[in-house]
């Protein structure tokens, strides 16, 4: 985690003190004067919706501050409150010139050419007309739209449109930037450009508040982050921790997380339950990549069974078994289990699975081919592997990556036609 740059003499850039926001949503809206006149005494009933409850935090000058939360947790509302778009209960202090990127290209007019839009948008975001005109060239250059500058925006592709809007927004050099989810747009190369810009802004000491549910971005940029859930502040601090808690919130109350479904088989034993434990031995619906994890199943024997074999098949979302483990190899003679006895079968391994959801299947069979099934525990529970980033492989094992350049590259005796550019 990058250290928080603190301006020792300065005050915080943003302070929020016990900020709450409630919306009064009318149940049936009266929208006409006629209704008011005809039914002057009928009152509209309102539903009060608490979007934010008692949020308090401070953002230091030069800090990159993240706000995370699930959909509907109030993170965008909080950003709008900081931006001054909504009035609030409680108090918010803010210092310096603010630029808000709630949505890119708000106020763009499709019938006007890029030039008019860039200047008008610049003024909207707080520039003077002279500044806006002066920066026009660099905006167009950054957006790589020089050859399209006289085109009306309605003829732009959505990618061009977004590029232009983003370029305008970053040219407004505010001290405080409020950014809402804008990395969700644009192609990979443009996203990279956005990331570069954010890094540059962070390095130049601007205060940035960044709303996202991309935990990877949160980790890469933010010094600290705030986690919201149903309008309340859950945690504030280390983005890594926020990321973990966010994933917990997302998958935590999943009814599939612990299952007790009955399977098929001859019924000489029953798999009562199956679950996942993390490296602390705690039952978890979600486990982080890179740590040790354990799959366990509790079995109750109805009749005496000799040397049963237990297997687990871990299927990924594409229904491919990415991991299979069995007692066959190490415990072929697992022993004799009496009627009424209970046993727990455990499978521990270092979690190298790619992030995602997995469905384990437990199979208990008589000794032999494994086809003589006693009980099968299937589709009743799943677990999630969490990771800060995913590169796309099925497994993520530690890989040493080395780049060597020059003549003495290993494999340099390849024929020239096969030589790869380094």
């Amino acid at each position: 985690m990058p250290a928080i740059p603190r301006d020792t003499k300065g005050l915080p850039a943003i302070v929020a003190r016990e900020v709450s926001k409630t919306f009064r949503v009318p149940q049936e809206r009266k929208h006409t004067l006629k209704e008011r006149v005809l039914h002057p005494r009928s009152r509209t009933r309102h539903q009060v919706f608490h979007a934010l409850n008692d949020i308090s935090f401070a953002v230091a000058e030069g800090e990159f501050f993240g706000i995370a939360g699930r959909n509907g947790s109030g993170k965008s509302t909080l950003l709008k409150c900081i931006a001054g778009i909504y009035g609030v209960e409680g108090e918010i202090w803010r210092r310096g010139r603010v630029s808000t990127f709630i949505e890119l290209g708000v106020g763009f007019n499709a019938d006007l050419a890029a030039r008019d839009n860039v200047i008008l948008n610049g003024i909207m975001l707080g520039l003077s007309p002279r500044e806006a005109r002066k920066r026009y060239d660099s905006v167009i250059e950054f957006a790589e739209l020089k050859e399209f500058e006289d085109l009306k925006l309605k003829n732009y592709s959505s990618g061009m449109y977004v590029r232009l809007a983003f370029s305008v927004a970053i040219q407004v050099d505010a001290d405080l930037l409020l950014i809402d989810e804008i990395l969700a747009v644009g192609d990979a190369s443009f996203q990279q450009k956005c990331f570069d810009v954010f890094n540059r802004m962070r390095d130049s000491g601007k205060t940035i508040v960044f709303v996202t549910h991309d935990m990877g971005a949160l980790n890469r940029f933010c010094h600290r982050a705030l986690l919201l859930e149903r309008g309340s502040q859950v945690y504030i601090g280390d983005p890594q921790e926020v990321g973990d808690r966010y994933l917990e919130l997302n998958f935590g109350r999943d009814p599939e997380a612990a299952g007790t479904a009955e399977g098929r088989g001859d019924g000489e034993a029953r798999v009562l339950e199956a679950w996942v434990e993390d490296d602390q031995g705690q039952r978890q619906p979600a486990v982080p990549q890179g740590r040790r994890m354990t799959l366990r199943a509790r079995v109750s024997f109805m009749v005496e069974v000799e040397d049963p074999q237990a297997s687990v098949y871990v299927h990924n979302e594409e229904h491919k078994a990415v991991l299979v483990a069995s007692t066959v190899l190490e415990h072929e003679h697992s022993g004799r289990f009496r009627s009424g006895e209970q046993a727990v079968f455990s499978f521990s391994f270092d979690n190298v699975l790619a992030p995602g959801r997995y469905n384990p299947v437990f199979n208990l069979a008589h000794r032999g081919s494994g086809l003589d099934v006693i009980d099968r525990f299937e589709g009743a529970f799943s677990f999630v592997v969490t990771a800060q980033q995913a590169l796309g492989g099925i497994v993520d094992v530690p890989v040493e990556v080395v780049v060597e350049r020059g003549e003495s590259v290993p494999g340099g005796d390849l024929p020239p036609s096969l030589e790869l550019p380094v």
């Binding site: 005050l11 401070a58 001054g84 778009i85 949505e103 106020g107 008008l120 003024i123």
Partner: protein, 306 residues
Amino acid sequence: MSAGTVPYESLGRPIRGPRALNDDPARFWHLTFNIAVNQWKLRFFGSALGYLWQLVRPLLLFTVLYVFFTKIANVNGAHPGDHSYDNYGAQLLGSIVLFTFFSEATMGSVRCVLDNEALVRKIQFPRMVIPLSIVLLSMFNLALNLVVVFVFALLAGVRPMLTWLELPLIVAVLAVLVAGLSMLLSSLFIYFRDIQPIWEVINQILFYSSPVIIAVPAVVKAFGPKTALSPRALDVPWLAHVYMSNPLAVILQQFRHAMINHATPSPAAVLGSDVMLLIPIGIVIGVFVFGFYVFNRTAPYVAENL
């Protein structure tokens, strides 16, 4: 740094929510001006005839009314010796242009906050920019149309007068009235969607109850005492005062008096004294203050209530 250790007293004033105005008049003006200019470009640069299109409507209305009232109803020929009907055409055109400004700006303002919903919900800027930019846009049109009026008047034989200097004042009073109404209407529309048809009807009423077609002397005569010449007069002279208390009537009539024809009575003359002018002026100020107040009150909640 946790919020608990922050000395709140040292932070100064907390920010306030969205407001109608901001602390930076220059920015307010730049925004209003640039939005109006861009809208203006949109309206005229795309079409082949450009500016002429927006002139077509008042000119067509003028042509129809002029032909009907001077050639068929013969309003100006029916009063031999009464010079207040001289240059009736220029009077009519001037009134139509001013009234077009009034109705275009107020009708355009009714929906303006809703039409700019995206801006209101996503950008912090002084909300009053929205209705005022519509008024400004209409003022650009008014300025161009007034050029046409004066060219027409000069061609019709009106000689330049010193009272032409009153023009900025007349336009300013009208603009204040229009701005007040546009703030009022745009904020009321958020809560009452039937303001739009209601205002269309009121607009029609105002068109006929202001000296656009009808000349003020005819009104005075109609309300005045019964004489041999006007046997159908109502004989309630104070109704003429009521008629002239309408600020729109005062503005249009003052324009006709000061710009086109001194023979048509000034509003002060109809009302009997300059002091009586305080009534329509008071209404203009009242409408503006009330509109401002209502807009200012609703501005913080606009984003939530749309």
